[in-house]
């Protein structure tokens, strides 16, 4: 008598396709997947608990590390949640800048997702083309934020620095280059029979199931459900922009790939519109004085020469560029109890200095009123929500993140079971699991 047993295969965490952070225990019958058990938590860093131990503005570096492929969206999401708690509005220019940076990040995220999927399926060249396109966008991000990955760019009440001179032109050039790469990638992947055969009808999920699992983002839209936070509850200036929400119909890997490809084009469209609509930032009046180094300004202010410094501009370290008085009003909310003063005020007069200290000292800082709030933004993977409870202190009492890939990972076994072992790669790739935001 023959005995029939299925094989248990332990995939990950040290498996090339699992990124070192996921473990899937699979029950295989030959090549067919009979069961799959997903184990998460390998990148748990206690983000939420850490946020409770620091001041609101110190949470931004932690949010960078949530979805590390599109950190600017996390930054903006957290800032928007705190601003909602505080009940403040930010200047329009800052809103446009946040949208521009968020959309650039969305494109980099989708590029990484599609590229990595293609690479794990063996198409290494397509991956490197995608990474090349991502590099163009990272150069833009680097120019504005000074960093590539852990950018910590958004501030409560504004953004760290204004756009640089001639940034729009450079952005248009880079967008044209990215579009070219996207066309190349489209030719390499979409028209590749092997690629489309491997994606088609694999990892299917029905719209009902997707909604039941709480899935959002491209994964949900691939099933044909039109839900995009940017359209459903517009934040920032998304209601002033024209863009479409690309939808799939079948909810398989190929549809998710198409939705992501189409979304990148829409994001590029949004960026272009933003550059046309964005209001002017610099204030031309008043700044007739000379440019003096920060240390000199501090010394002169100590000597009481504050009157003479009112017209002057301070020469700053490159990391602080864009936060001088010249740009300050256009990119920060006019709230002294939330926003750090312009650097000229910090260095040049006692009121500014005190304001600065009041905001950076423990026990002072930004103190939202007692209450709780939830603010969702459209992350690259879906609805990224921040739930914050304030007890009136300068530290959050509780922070909770709604990570988009958590729900998708819960549905992953459903997508995998019944498929082949090799289908694990495109399906898991199309989830775009980012362990930073999944495990927090």
């Amino acid at each position: 008598m023959t005995q029939r047993r299925s094989m248990l295969l332990n995939v990950g965490p040290s498996h090339p396709a699992m990124h070192g952070v996921i473990r899937i225990i699979m029950e295989l019958d030959g090549e067919k997947i009979k069961g799959a058990d997903v184990e998460i938590g390998y990148l748990h860093r206690a983000f939420e608990k850490m946020c409770e131990t620091v001041m609101y503005s110190q949470c931004f570096p932690y949010t960078d590390r949530l979805n590390y492929v599109s950190p600017l969206i996390n930054n903006a999401g957290f800032a928007l949640a705190v601003e909602k708690l505080l009940g403040i509005d930010i200047p329009e220019r800052a809103q446009y800048i946040r949208v521009i940076m968020s959309e650039i990040s969305r494109v980099t995220d989708h590029l990484t997702c599609i590229g990595a999927t293609a690479m794990e399926m063996g198409a290494m060249t397509a991956f490197l083309y995608m990474i090349k396109a991502r590099e163009f966008l990272y150069e833009l991000i680097e120019e504005i934020t000074g960093a590539r990955l852990t950018i910590s760019y958004v501030r409560i009440g504004g953004v760290k620095a204004d756009l640089t001179q001639g940034f729009a032109d450079r952005a248009f050039q880079k967008i044209a280059k990215v579009r070219k790469v996207l066309i190349e990638a489209d030719e390499m992947l979409t028209r590749n029979r092997i690629f489309s055969d491997r994606m088609k009808d694999i990892g299917k999920i029905s719209p009902e199931d997707a909604i039941a699992y709480g899935i959002t983002g491209p994964f949900l839209r691939s099933t044909g459900v039109s839900y995009d936070v940017r359209k459903a509850s517009p934040y920032l200036i998304y209601d002033k922009l024209e863009f479409e929400v690309p939808l799939g119909s079948k909810g398989d890997n190929l549809d998710r790939y198409f939705v992501r490809m189409a979304e990148m084009e829409q994001s590029l469209r949004i960026i272009e519109q933003c550059f046309v609509q964005i209001p002017d930032g610099e204030i031309a009046c008043g700044l007739t004085g000379e440019v003096i180094p920060a240390a000199q300004m501090v010394d002169r202010a100590k000597m009481g020469e504050t009157e003479e410094l009112i017209e002057d501009e301070v020469a700053l370290d490159p990391t602080l560029q864009g936060s001088t008085r010249k740009y300050h009003d256009a990119i920060y909310a006019h709230k002294k109890d939330v926003v750090l003063p312009a650097k000229e005020n910090t260095y040049g007069n006692i009121e500014g200095l005190m304001n600065h200290f009041k905001l950076v000292m423990y026990g002072h800082g930004i103190q939202p009123p007692v209450g709780e709030t939830y603010f969702p933004v459209e992350g690259a993977n879906g609805e990224l929500g921040f739930y914050i409870v304030s007890d009136g202190r300068d530290q959050p009492w509780r922070v909770r993140v709604h990570p988009p890939c958590f729900a998708i990972m819960a549905a992953l076994p459903k997508c995998l079971i019944g498929g082949m072992m090799a289908d694990l790669i495109p399906t898991f790739g199309s989830v775009n699991m980012i362990a930073g935001e999944l495990d927090r």
Binding site: P16, G30, E31, M121, G122, T125, I194, R198, A422
Partner: protein, 360 residues
Amino acid sequence: MNDVLIKFILSAGTLLIVFGIAGLLTWVERKQSALMQDRIGANRATIFGFKAMGLFHIFADVLKMLSKEEFIPEGANKFLFNLAPYLSITFALVGFAAIPIGGELVLNGHAIQLQAANLNIALIYIFAMMSMGIYGVVLAGFSSNNNYAFLGGIRGAAQMISYEITMAAAITGVIMVFNTLDLQMLDRAQGAYMFGGWIPKWGVFVQPLSFLLFLTAAAAETKRIPFDLPEGESEIIGYFVEYSGMKFGMFFMADLVETVLVAALMTTLFLGGWQVPYLHPDGFYFPWGGHMALSNLPVVILGVLSFFIKVSFFIWTLMAVRWTFPRFRYDQLMNLGWKILLPASLVNIAITAVVIIFLR
């Protein structure tokens, strides 16, 4: 005595050339993929400050492989585990014995066929050796005591057996046209011309469908993307997952040697082997009426050169394919092999048979 010496020199020469090309391929692979992907490619290894376009990486690789720990996993069948890589590389290498790298060289009145083993069943011999190569893959997969390796072994066995059948069926057309299994004879037969002497009677021109089928099946035989299912490095890591050091290196080399073998086989079967267009044993006869007399030695040298240029072309093609496509899925691979390639090659045999009888 003299004959034995000549054979020995020929065999040693072939072996060295093949090893040289296979070693060079590790570099070619890096540089060609880099070129395709807008990168610079390997350029770090230096000897006394010379980089030689990254060529020293070949030596660095070998040195690394030799100095690594030989690891045998617990529960593995030690004998089979150690045997598998040798089987893999040996059977890939011995196939070259029957490949003619040049025509007839006359030295001091001796006529030497530039072919290590002058077999009249060369084609069958090569196929037998290539089939034996499966044992390396299967044994490695089964003896490693590892589920991933096991899956790789199964995949490898299934894939190589299915594609070997297509391969054999695909070249049956060529055998029927040229009526021989001796590769030296086959090459010589491809020296004829069709259509008023303009087009050489190469396999690719008389059997175009067979050429395409063989190209696909042969690519599958090399176990490289898009047919790298036994390896599938981001999927099941491969049948050699437990191997380290030079034993892994042997599997790696076996794949590259097979790439060269397949390229050489395609050259021999479909591009006339060492034939140069319009070059006859006594010089060039151009179809437009010109004639350029050449003695035996330059003719043979041109032939050998022509052979290696054609081989390089096929290697380049296989590399370009490897760095462009994603990998197949197991069932798709089987569908392609059994439902498309095999019927197509059978149809090709039938058509060829009808045409041959019709022309007779």
